[in-house]
């Protein structure tokens, strides 16, 4: 009887190990995000992180349809926004709910959402780089819950093949670089036409035109395909 139980336990353990070996590798994207070097806007911004952002996960499938990599990018977005937003606004308040309109001290509520994530692995693209694209829908509401603006931004990260790092580490680097690239769009916050007119109307702010920057993405022939 005892030996039967031992065999059962061994079989369960073996099956468990086999299943674990067949499962997708998990990549929890982590990166270093600096404080933006910009002039702060004199606003108190409420920010609400929806569960879909907090728990955003992307699964990369193999050509046979098996899950290969599970890329978790929710937590790294919280790390990114908690570093970047206080560099852009005088005050930032994290809200527990998007309906927390009772928070009188905020001037507006910012709700970032991920719409899509794409990964390009050199094993499939035959290119010499790992690439990641993230598409966002950014939303700004007044503290009373009125819509101010919805705008779509995309960010891109690319890291070349090479060195002795693992595929998971390269995916992490591409994801973290895409996160850093998001800073490029975030600093143009006040130049979104609806936000610009809201700032001028509500706070009598004069918003300077955006600095002349690169007209294209700078990555020839590598546009995201969302």
């Amino acid at each position: 009887m005892t030996s039967v139980r031992v065999y059962q336990q061994l079989a369960t353990l073996t099956l468990g190990l086999l299943l674990a070996a067949c499962g997708a590798s998990t990549v929890n994207v982590q990166g270093q995000y600096p404080v933006p070097n910009v002039n702060k806007l004199p606003l108190t911004l409420g920010v609400y992180y929806d569960d879909s952002l907090r728990n955003y996960s992307y699964i990369e499938y193999s050509e046979t349809g098996a899950a290969e990599y599970e890329v978790n990018i929710g937590q790294t977005h919280l790390d990114f926004f908690s570093t970047v937003l206080p560099g852009l606004f005088e005050n930032v308040v994290v809200l527990e709910s998007a309906e927390a309109t009772s928070v009188d001290e905020v001037d507006a509520v910012f709700i970032p959402l991920i719409e899509d994530f794409q990964l390009a692995l050199p094993q499939k693209t035959k290119l010499d780089a790992y690439e990641a694209w993230i598409k966002y829908n950014m939303r700004l509401e007044s503290k009373e819950g009125e819509h101010i603006a919805d705008w779509v931004v995309t960010s891109y990260g690319r890291t070349p093949v090479g060195g002795l790092r693992s595929i998971g580490s390269a995916i992490n680097d591409a994801g973290a670089l895409a996160m850093r690239d998001l800073g490029r769009s975030i600093i143009d916050f006040s130049n979104v036409p609806e936000i610009k007119s809201w700032l001028e109307r509500r706070f009598n702010m004069q918003i300077a035109d955006p600095i002349e920057r690169n007209p294209s993405t700078g990555v020839p022939g590598q546009e995201p395909v969302f």
């Binding site: 270093q32 600096p34 404080v35 933006p36 070097n37 910009v38 002039n39 010499d128 780089a129 891109y156 690319r158 070349p160 090479g162 670089l177 850093r180 690239d181 800073g183 490029r184 975030i186 600093i187 600095i211 002349e212 920057r213 690169n214 993405t217 700078g218 990555v219 020839p220």
Partner: protein, 220 residues
């Protein structure tokens, strides 16, 4: 004892000569403006990423050579600069032309940080080292009686780099330098493999840094 020391020294010199003789480099310089560096001025080297696969190691190598050169040029490390200026020098956001510095430096936070770091010249590096050819076979075997390799071959490497020098003060391109290198790594094995590496990338880095040093301080 003295004889042994002298013999070892000869071998080391011979090996050093063999490892560097397989590499050739060509440097072209195009100057568009005067350059001068005061003791307070610093230089930042940045890799142009996105359209080139330049490695951070190459950028660091050129920076280290300039810092340890006779002129002891003050170098702001690339990552430190990019983080301090975030997100203005991220790969897709960085200025592509020196004339774009004008608008960028009108942003108070950017000009203050640039002044704080005393950056006088910004050097944009692009290019890469590639393996362009190889031939030969090398077979190694392991048995209870011992291990050994037999055969030989070579690998050809090519390096092409460009350095564009921007003057932050005049907000203009003051010159560009091109460094091309080529070399072959040889491997020959009769039991023990002997490798003569081409060292294309470090040698191209040395030569480019030497030329950059003379470019930056040469016209004073």
């Amino acid at each position: 004892m003295n004889y042994l020391f002298r013999t070892n020294r000869v071998y080391i010199l011979l090996l050093a000569a063999l490892t560097s003789c397989g590499t050739t480099t060509t440097i072209d310089e195009f100057r568009q403006g005067e350059t001068s560096l005061s003791t307070e001025d610093s230089v930042v080297l940045l890799g142009r990423r996105g359209d080139s696969n330049i490695s951070a190691d190459f950028v660091e190598c050129v920076g280290n050579r300039l810092a340890s050169s006779e002129s002891a040029i003050a170098i702001v490390p690339e990552q430190e600069f990019v983080d301090a200026m975030y997100p203005w020098f991220e790969p897709l956001n960085a200025p592509q032309k020196a004339s774009q510095l004008d608008g960028l430096l009108n942003e108070r936070a950017v000009s203050e940080k640039m002044a704080e770091l005393d950056v006088r010249y910004m050097i944009w590096l692009s290019g890469e080292t590639e393996r362009v050819g190889s031939n030969g076979t090398l077979t190694c075997a392991l048995s209870p009686g011992g291990a050994g390799c037999f055969g030989g071959g070579y690998r050809e490497y090519s390096a092409e780099y460009e350095a564009r020098v921007w003057d932050v003060e005049s907000r203009s391109l003051v010159g560009s330098l091109n460094a091309d290198g080529a070399g072959t790594t040889y491997v020959a094995a009769v039991v023990v493999p002997i490798i003569l590496p081409a060292r294309v990338e470090p040698i191209t880095c040395d030569r480019l840094a030497a030329q950059l040093e003379s470019f930056l301080v040469g016209s004073q």
